[in-house]
């Protein structure tokens, strides 16, 4: 241990009121700051990213050989958009897990006292999950294209925008869940796990729901992810049916708006 008496001065400039003179960053700058902060550990630890990237591929590799042969087009064409959406949903639903850790260790509190706006803390964290999602989607598409999968790039990009919107909503909900669970991370994981699989299965991510009984179809119709998946499948197939795609965007926008509303409300109440 050394003493600090010999170290440099702690100020940058001599002007006392400099902090107030500086313009306040806006919502976009704040959100960007929060997102970049969240992404830094990811990029500093590339091995962890790679591992997360490989997971959906493992899933695909183990599941795709089981897909039945279909006459019109390939089963892979049907299956891939579901896996991309699943990966996005999984990633976004983990948003709150990082938050729980930061609540426990104290850095969340520091951010609350910083000038960053409450909404930027929420949106920035939710957006952070979109970036790995984009990379995962890219990897999946690159890997499956040599097989019986036709890549329609422009359509896929529209699909990715749609998924990003959906992910922001799910990320915000996950954030709210972490705030509500406070430092009990078991509570966060229990709720997250309990909800995520029914949502995925009811949307027909792994198996089509055509032959399902009525009650299951009704539950599926109430699931916003169902519309997102249908839109994704149409887009990945290179088609652009206006009704289906709009329904997908409407469902995503609804989830995003609801997520942000719940998230901001939870945040205001908890501080």
């Amino acid at each position: 241990m050394t003493t600090y008496a010999d170290k440099g001065s702690l100020t940058l400039s001599t002007r006392r009121d400099r902090d107030m003179a500086r313009p306040a960053p806006g919502l976009v700058a704040d959100t960007w700051n929060v997102m970049v902060r969240e992404l830094r550990p990811v990029f500093r630890e590339p091995a962890s990213v790679l591992f997360a990237m490989v997971q959906p591929l493992v899933f695909l590799g183990l599941f795709a050989p089981l897909l039945p042969k279909v006459e019109d087009g390939s089963a892979l064409q049907w299956f891939v958009p579901g896996i991309v959406a699943m990966t996005a949903l999984m990633g976004a639903s983990f948003t709150g897990a990082n938050l729980t850790q930061e609540i426990v260790t104290g850095s969340h509190e520091r951010l609350l006292v910083s000038p960053l706006s409450r909404s930027s803390l929420l949106v920035g964290r939710a957006l952070k999950e979109v970036v790995p999602m984009l990379m995962q989607a890219a990897i999946i598409v690159v890997v499956v294209t040599p097989f019986s999968f036709d890549l329609h790039l422009a359509h896929v990009l529209v699909g990715v925008v749609l998924l990003s919107l959906f992910s922001i909503g799910v990320g915000a909900l996950s954030f709210a869940l972490a705030l509500a669970a406070k430092d009990q991370d078991w509570l966060f994981w229990t709720v997250q796990q309990t909800l995520i699989f029914p949502v995925l299965l009811l949307a027909g991510v792994l198996l089509p729901l055509q032959g399902a009984p009525g009650w299951l179809r009704t539950a599926s119709d109430l699931n916003p992810l169902t519309y997102v998946i249908e839109a994704e499948r149409a887009l990945f197939a290179g088609t652009l049916p206006a009704g289906t795609v709009l329904a997908g965007f409407a469902a995503s926008a609804l989830v995003a708006a609801f997520g942000l509303w719940v998230g901001l409300r939870t945040m205001r109440r908890s501080s």
Partner: protein, 332 residues
């Protein structure tokens, strides 16, 4: 006095717990002037952290008002946040983050350019002796290193007012001494207004200009440590060879105006103003009377004595009751 940088009026905070209302802070009126170094001292659960959380916008008051840097903590919370530095009980830096990255993103949140932010980060890394640690994940740093990083993050924007919530809790004596040195240096060099909470008597005594003693949500004393203590006398302990001598000693001591005398077997304890000046005469007198003093000890009053005098409880013992953890409320 110049315009205060912190001013509270009837500041109150209640918590509802298990349907019971806990009055954590009850009608606090407080003013802190620019450049003061104030310690909020009190046992765990006294309301000092709750007060700090209201002043730093983490917790809205139930009633009353508080202004920090001229801004109302509720209506102008963003301006308050831009004006203050805050070092909480936990770690400011995320454990998965690198220290340097956290300094940069904190600086960016105050609107510094990328270049300014990096310059400022390097400056603080050097000033807080974190050159080797700044590029490592925070989770791998020692407690003392993390605490230095916490303080560095709180100072990124050179705040006029710095709040520290129990800054030295959990640090070993060496790191605690280092931290206290940093705080006093910051105060001396920059004239930064510093408000910290502590339950360490020695800490309040050594570093603060002003000690605000808080108990059960109210301020029970507010003055410099020296003046708080000077209202109490010195403690003179006298040891005698026999019970008879001790009795004689106790009688003689009781004749001093204002002296409070206690006797325990062969030992006599006298609490009296200017005890250190009176002790020599007392010993000589008793030697003449045939009751020689065998051992003598004169102790100046501590802040614990002040607390004991005010509340009838010892601060040290109050801190040992485990269930009294400070109420953090719904925040966190």
């Amino acid at each position: 006095m110049t315009t205060p940088v912190i001013r509270t009026r009837g500041l109150t905070r209640h918590f509802t717990r298990h349907k019971a209302t806990v009055e954590a802070v009850r009608g606090l009126d407080l003013e802190v002037a620019q450049g003061e170094l104030v310690a909020f001292l009190g046992p765990n659960g006294a309301g000092k952290s709750t007060t700090l959380r209201m002043l730093t916008t983490l917790l809205p008051p139930t009633a009353g008002t508080a202004e920090v840097a001229g801004f109302d903590v509720v209506r102008r919370h963003r301006d308050v946040r831009r004006s203050i530095g805050y070092v909480g009980q936990g770690n400011a830096a995320g454990h998965a983050q690198r220290g340097r990255d956290e300094l940069v993103s904190q600086a960016r949140s105050f609107g510094m350019s990328r270049r300014q932010a990096h310059e400022r980060a390097e400056q603080l890394i050097a000033a807080f002796d974190l050159t080797e640690q700044a590029g490592r994940p925070v989770s791998t740093l020692s407690g003392g290193q993390r605490r230095r990083l916490d303080v560095a993050i709180g100072l990124v924007h050179t705040p006029r007012i710095l709040f520290l919530d129990e800054p030295s809790t959990g640090l070993d004596p060496q790191n605690r001494a280092n931290l206290q040195e940093q705080i006093t240096r910051l105060h001396a060099e920059q004239g930064t207004t510093i408000v910290l909470t502590t339950h360490y008597l020695e800490e309040a005594d050594t570093i603060a200009d002003r000690v605000v003693v808080i108990d059960h949500g109210v301020v029970i004393a507010d003055d410099s440590a020296t003046r708080l203590k000077s209202s109490l006398g010195d403690l003179v302990r006298l040891g005698f060879g026999s019970f008879a001598d001790a009795t004689l000693g106790a009688e003689r001591a009781a004749s001093i105006p204002g002296a409070v005398v206690e006797m325990d077997e062969n030992q006599v304890t006298v609490r009296v103003a200017h005890g250190r000046d009176l002790a020599a005469g007392l010993v000589t007198d008793l030697a003449w009377q045939g009751a020689p003093v065998e051992r003598i000890e004169v102790v100046g009053p501590t802040l614990d004595d002040v607390f004991l005098d005010l509340t009838g409880r010892s601060l040290r013992e109050s801190n040992e009751t485990p269930e009294n953890d400070d109420i953090k409320g719904a925040a966190a």
